[in-house]
Assembly symmetry: D2
Homo-oligomer: 448 residues x 4
């Protein structure tokens, strides 16, 4: 922990951080004004790219080439992609910037290198907003202060705007003091965290395979932290699987030949109801929700298609897998019972790694130096696909954590009134910078 203390008392260090303070808040508000849902973060990715390119990274992967032909989970329809790309163009993103992202290939991965050999430390930011209309009430600060979402029906209601701005500032500060740290910092700007969709591709791309420590974090308003407080890790990340089931039957004119139809709605509503009957272990936090069902065309046609959207949550990884298998079996059983086809598609998932104790201890010290009050790890009770990254790093012998940072006591996440007090962001930047310097200088702590 010597490193952390050293940097703390270093005026150059303090200056590098301080210089980013305003830029961080400004970038967060700019992103807030231009939210983009998962896999459509065209403008966001372009801005990030511009910022990172200026730092002369050792490597930078972007656009379709980043994904190297890999399948991605939960990519939206072409129409949604096209509309979002249109908005990005209208907002000033150039054709040449957009082109490599066509098809929703958003996100960016880049490596900065320090001075001399050292560990590989990854930092993750998530880029996407939510399909939600932001409040325009006077009581809503972004509305009052003029940085409310300009896109009807899309909103940053989960602080990813802040996460992105923080990691850009961290990168700038690290670049500026690159003689103060060793090794390599991997910047992971991940698309589509909502629906726990995007991390899977980053993990399968191998971006975490050589990482010694992965730092993930979230600004949270609902875990009992007061303003200015952080927890260096969390427990109770909720394993989850998100899915879509598509039922395909045969249409027919109902009044004249119903017997020729194969009713996809009957199958889908049967599955929707019967899914509740899938047994769960007593006392586990296992749950299945069908959150959306769309089927059919008109009153006089036997519905030939149905699309069901749902999710499984549990505090047990094995039970998520069991329930997913049961849901699949049920869908295909009931569908086959009516001569209907069903196809189950995973659109996202997350796991529940343990945050490493040694790493949390280091971050706690770094946080205090950054002027943040440190609390015990909090119970998250929610899902984040950062979990996949932590899992992978731990599997390869490295360490990881998920730092919880108070966003001030505002409205719940995913609500039209959600907001954070962004005056905390400079301290978060400082925490991340200190952590990198600290970890790079003294070796990676061993997980427990």
């Amino acid at each position: 922990m010597t490193g952390a203390q050293d940097s703390g008392s270093d005026p150059a260090f303090a200056e590098a951080i301080r210089d980013q303070a305003e830029a961080t808040i400004a970038m967060r508000r700019d992103l807030h004004r231009h939210p983009e849902v998962g896999w459509t973060e065209f403008r966001t990715s372009a801005l990030v790219r511009e910022a990172i390119v200026a730092l002369e990274p050792d490597t930078l992967r972007f656009g379709a080439t980043l994904y190297d032909g890999l399948d991605r989970l939960g990519v939206p329809d072409d129409e949604i992609l096209a509309a979002a790309m249109g908005r990005a163009a209208a907002a000033g993103v150039s054709e040449s910037e957009l082109e490599p992202m066509e098809g929703g290939f958003t996100g960016l991965a880049a490596d900065l290198v320090g001075s001399g050999p050292g560990p590989v430390i990854a930092i993750r930011a998530d880029l996407d907003g939510l399909p939600l209309s932001e409040s325009d009430a006077d009581t809503h600060y972004p509305a009052r202060a003029g940085f409310r979402s300009q896109v009807d029906g899309v909103m940053h209601a989960c602080a990813h705007d802040a996460h992105t701005a923080v990691v850009v500032s961290v990168a700038r500060a690290l670049h500026r003091m690159r003689d103060r740290w060793a090794g390599r910092v991997r910047l992971l700007f991940q698309p589509a965290e909502e629906g726990t969709r995007g991390a899977d591709a980053f993990v399968r791309l191998g971006l975490l395979d050589d990482v010694d420590a992965v730092l993930t974090f979230h600004i949270l308003s609902n875990v009992g932290l007061a303003a200015g407080e952080i927890a260096p890790g969390v427990s109770d990340m909720l394993p989850t699987e998100k899915f879509v089931v598509r039922f395909t039957g045969t249409p027919s004119q109902f009044a004249s030949s119903p017997e020729r139809g194969r009713n996809a709605l009957t199958a889908a509503s049967g599955v929707t109801l019967l899914a509740h009957a899938i047994p769960k272990r007593p006392g586990s936090r296992s749950m299945i929700n069908v959150g959306r069902l769309v089927s059919g065309t008109a009153a006089n046609i036997v519905p030939a298609s149905a699309v069901l959207t749902g999710e499984i949550r549990s505090d047990r990884m094995d039970e998520v897998a069991e329930l997913a298998a049961a849901f699949k079996a049920l869908s295909s059983g009931v569908a086959s019972g009516f001569g209907v086809e069903s196809a189950y598609e995973v659109t996202g998932y997350a796991t529940n790694p343990r945050c490493d104790v040694g790493l949390m201890d280091r971050i706690a010290v770094d946080a205090e130096h950054a002027g943040l009050a440190v609390r015990e790890p909090v119970s998250l009770g929610a899902s984040d696909d950062a979990s996949l990254m932590i899992d992978r790093v731990q599997q390869r012998g490295g360490v990881g954590t998920y730092v919880a940072i108070s966003g001030g006591a505002y409205h719940p996440h995913h609500s039209p009134d959600f907001d954070i007090d962004d005056r905390v962001l400079p301290a978060v930047v400082e925490l991340m910078v200190r952590s990198v310097v600290d970890l790079s200088g003294s070796g990676i702590p061993v997980g427990t």
Copy 2:
């Protein structure tokens, strides 16, 4: 039709019939007092056997040997068989009579031969009663006249007692005047008509394969015939399939390990509900009923078994088959969706043959000679597995019909108050005897 007229004016003929009148009614009332449900007609079969053996039949098949190792549909549980056999023994049926019927091998098939070569004419009686407690109201004639069912929970509420008594008397009369007719009369005393279970075995045994004309009949109180009226045939026999589906899951203690259970009741109630969604052709009379469901043991156990009893009816044979296939697919689909096994078992069925016009014409004349008023064929709107016999005979080039005979305007079939005016029975015996003599003497009429 000369034959019929001749016999009508023949005093010996009249005497042969007249002598049976009292015996017919007496036997009907005796059988009424001792009803036996399908495949348990032990006492009934023994009585019939005794009567037929006395007529020195050319062939007689009885007991297990009658069935020749063939599977039968809808045979009840061993307990039910044992209880019924106990009742038959208590009612005086000897051990040696009962023994060949052990396992529910009731019924009898016998051939009488006339004088010289001639056609094979089959007459069918059904033997079984219903699982129903007979009324003991003073307004119920069998109660008042002292021949109410002596077996609690079993009752002849569909006139099969009368059918059996009639055919025994017909056999006696034909035996007595066996020089007056040619060929061969096959007497078919069929078990288990209720649930349309028994005829299938008789048909598969080949008992109809060489038959030139098959005469089946029913005393009916609900088809619009007044007392003393008959219709020489019916339309609208309803095709049907009866079935049982057994669901087998895995039990588990619900409070401690529900996830280890495979809930047969969930599957069975799912099928019970979803079966209504199987599409039917518009305007067809197609229907599916789940009439009974029994599942589970106690509140705190995940149900591991369920038995569902149902039937399909339609005015279209093809739709019965389609709906049965759909029900089977649904059962196995839903069951598999919950890790439960399902087994669909056909327990009975019936078809909808057309009654032959030429044969109906002959019977109409015979009926008038027997003093019965003849009406147009009536619409049956119900199922009888006599249909299988008519079908088979027609497939082999013969003819058949299903004669409807008024039982007087009493209570509905299958009700505790059902009764018939049995004074009509001697005329029915005469009709059948005249028909045999008529048909044997003049060749079998060609169907249309």
Copy 3:
């Protein structure tokens, strides 16, 4: 029938008809190019209005004033109305023409008067197209001949374009020879026949109350008529009720507080399945279809709303009412079982009047004079809310029929390939004109 014969041999008459031939076909094709769904027939209504105004009608009701504050069934959402109005404006309909129709007040009712007192004869045309994309195959004549729908997702696939063009031409011909007929002709250009929505308002407005004879007709490709053939009436119009049920529950974050949600999708899918279990009379043509279900927003939210669209059909009016009551009871029962609200809304209906024999006889003669081959009344087996108009006229002592006209043997109605051979239209115009002249001259025949 003297009148009909007279007009047939009258050169002025022949000329009046002949002059409309080309215009009828041209107008049909123009309308075909610009289809508009129910209650959005803005351009269609404006064109019809222009044509009828030129004929100096005695009365003309149009726009919101036509409906006199009356509720209408099945009016689409504001967005759909606005989009359609925008298309009409873009197609050249002026602001002043559109303004009175704002809110979907389409359609028109006008009276022409003949020379001297006589009966009131109503003729009905329906105006609307279907939400369907028209085929662009070379084999599809409208595509080849250049009059395919210019509106993506909307199509005249039920010949209402032809009906409208015919009645406009009939009006023109009647106007030209107004000295040849007596009384009053009521032209009813009804919106929203699809979904059997529009006639209800016309009837409740009293537009049929003083009518002595109502002539309704449909060009049909599926009732067994060959090209050039008509049937002067139909049997088996199918009574129907169309409905929407809206379920309103309470949303909640699924992962954290599912118990606070009231799941509208559970209620709606329960009703969707259980509705199949509503019993129907055996042998009736009674059917219930849930043709569309839309519910919920996202995988992690308990769905708080669901909209179910369905219809009931039967050959029995009483059973339509019974089934509708049962569906309503089921919806409210199941919804209440989950703490969810349900609201059942009728969006359309039709009945099954008998076509008057005397009127059909007259039309048969008129049709032969118009060069059309006349066949027996056909079985329709479909629903049309023209039935409500016939019903009302008959209730007030008048007569009515629904004339079936062959459209040539093309693709099924409501299919992307639907087309008619519009060379038949001039003869249809002639038939209608002859019928009016005939009926006006000789009194209205008495129904049977």
Copy 4:
């Protein structure tokens, strides 16, 4: 704790206990041979009564007068009561003993008094067996040793035979040394613990209202205690509610008039499925099981009645109540949706009191004196209606506990192979006697 130590070293005390050892085991085996299900413990109650009467109790309530006209939960059908009473008579219970219990009024409550004033201490035994056929395998000790159940389909598979025998012996020992303790001991021989049915009546009768300490106990094979070990209390008693819902519809002949039926099976299977959709709090141990469904009569009848048996469990009392309310609402909602009546009847329930720490401490000391090894309180994870008694006593300011006693590591409760090592029973008797003497001599410890 002086008292306990004193009695421990007292030869008279030791003798009083020792004398009961053989009798306890003998009585347990006699009861094992004659198991009786809840509310039919006729022979058991008569034996207990005989034993207690001999001790000249201060009060004794028995038979119908015990219940004072109060309703009881979950009393079986008259047939089951009659059959069980017949078995009791056949086993030698006299008419005069049986008569007061007619109607299932089994159980007994009696008070013994010590020397001088002191606290009221209640001890509870449960009397009933289970509807289960006992194993006759050689590996099953009761079978080998000749005390297997003589009643087919009934078995003591939850150690209530031992509980009853223990409390009878405790009573005898206390009577013998009644000069050694003060106050009053209330002996509660409660019927129908299975299904948590019987305690409710005892509590509502006021039998616990003046009690200072209530001792309840269970011999358990599944809570991790080794032979000779006890825990002086338990945590995690599971609140539960058991219920029956009766659905009453209208029967009809399915083939002819299904529309006249009101299908109780449709309603009941709907509720069975939809009940799974009742939402539960995440992470609670809340569960709903429909364990049994019986409906309908025959394939061709619309089912007019259905009886559904189920239970709710939770670790939260409030959630049991919420789920019960939801199940009731669902039953009545779905039933009303089909014109069917539903009636929800509570047949049993239990709660989750905390065992008092001070009392547990005393019992721990007493147990050690009795030669039993004492372990920490165990997690029960099951329901017992002894909870109602503890609750009531605590509400009135007294204390209570539920002592867990190892029965040896045998087969699971409620299995055909369940057995206990009854050599432990004398020590259990001693523990209870010591506890009474201890508590009576030194005042009742204060709960925490």
